[in-house]
Subunit: 193 residues, 2 copies
DNA sequence: AATAGCCTATCTAGTGATAGATAGATATTT
DNA sequence: AAATATCTATCTATCACTAGATAGGCTATT
């Protein structure tokens, strides 16, 4: 018996999809309602405002992403493999669902959203920077990543490149570019051969 | 006597600003009209549809950017300095005007815009990839950039990272991150010390 | 009976787009 | 030169539609 998703979950799921594909200003309560098969007032029953809805979606996304990266870290791979697996999350998000990172979309919409949303987005970025810097620092201490790399700086580079590659790869309809971008950075972070 | 900008030019200028700051779905003909001091019907006089307007803005942006990079190339700097100067365009766009690359914004809005717009955006990306690959190839042939780098691949990396860094730097209110990202890639493209 | 979940109906505001009018500049004909 | 015609750039007013939001009612579960 396939347990039917609740309306509440469907709202969050579809809102997330719309934000990832069309951005904050690219969908309406009616779009959500029509997609789910309810009325827009039912969305308001769960979320009084669009801001409330988007904050909930972003918070859930942020926590889900953290859980995924924590899981990845528990696998205890070498730093380079960890970074590769991390990039794979971005690639499959685009390849499988034609979606861009939720927070990259919302970052583009920063001038359109309220502080409650930007706070969640900034928290997401801070968490990802921290996770990446930790992985990189571990790689350096294990001698698999060049010692002249500054973990906090390379984290920003790696993350920026992946987020940018995601948007460009979608525009160019070429998800493989994400892997191409990640592999080049990883190769450059290794000791010269 | 300060020559007053025509209404037509004001429309293109303000539309460009809005797209760079709020995206395709983040502004209206009325926003433009109010900002300029005319009626929205006057915008329609110049551009029958929003698509037509955005195509015109994007085409102008693309040609202006090409002119700027051609000028940069004429300066005949070393590859690394050329790449640094290129990144500086992105940084000052964010720092001075709080704007993101027009085409990065439109790329995020790909699911919301018509093919006439996406064609212009894709043409912009293709031109930038080509310019960067050429600069990198020159650097390799002059021996200032590592020979194991593939120009077309590093171009995608460099451009992706800059576009991503621009969006993230805006969200984090930290334009210096653009330079940080560029400098790391340039350093890694050099021969090991 | 109370609550949860969803509905109908409606509101105010704003969307892109269009029709028709008009003042003033420019061009053409007499 | 004067009269006529056309063009440019803008206006007012309105279209059908969509936006987010809200009040109040119905129904099913607890």
């Amino acid at each position: 018996m396939t347990s039917k998703a609740t309306t509440h979950d469907q709202i969050l799921d579809l809102a997330q999809q719309y934000i990832q594909q069309r951005g904050y200003n690219g969908f309406s309560f009616r779009d959500l309602a029509n997609g789910i098969g309810v009325k827009s007032s039912s969305i308001h029953y769960y979320y009084a405002s669009k801001t409330d809805l988007v904050v909930a979606v972003t918070s859930r996304y942020r926590k889900g992403f953290s859980a995924a990266t924590d899981q990845l870290k528990a696998d205890n791979l070498a730093a380079a493999d960890m970074l590769k697996a991390y990039a794979q999350i971005f690639k499959s998000t685009l390849e499988d669902d034609k979606r861009v990172c939720l927070c990259a979309m919302l970052a583009s919409d920063f001038d359109s959203v309220e502080a409650a949303v930007t706070d969640e987005v900034k928290a997401f970025f801070a968490e990802q920077y921290k996770w990446l810097a930790n992985i990189i620092a571990n790689g350096i201490s294990h001698g698999t990543i060049r010692g002249d790399i500054v973990p906090e700086e390379f984290a920003i580079l790696y993350f920026s490149a992946l987020e940018g590659a995601m948007v460009l790869a979608k525009a160019n309809d070429n998800p493989a570019d994400i892997e191409l971008v990640a592999n080049q950075m990883i190769a450059m972070s290794q000791h010269a051969g």
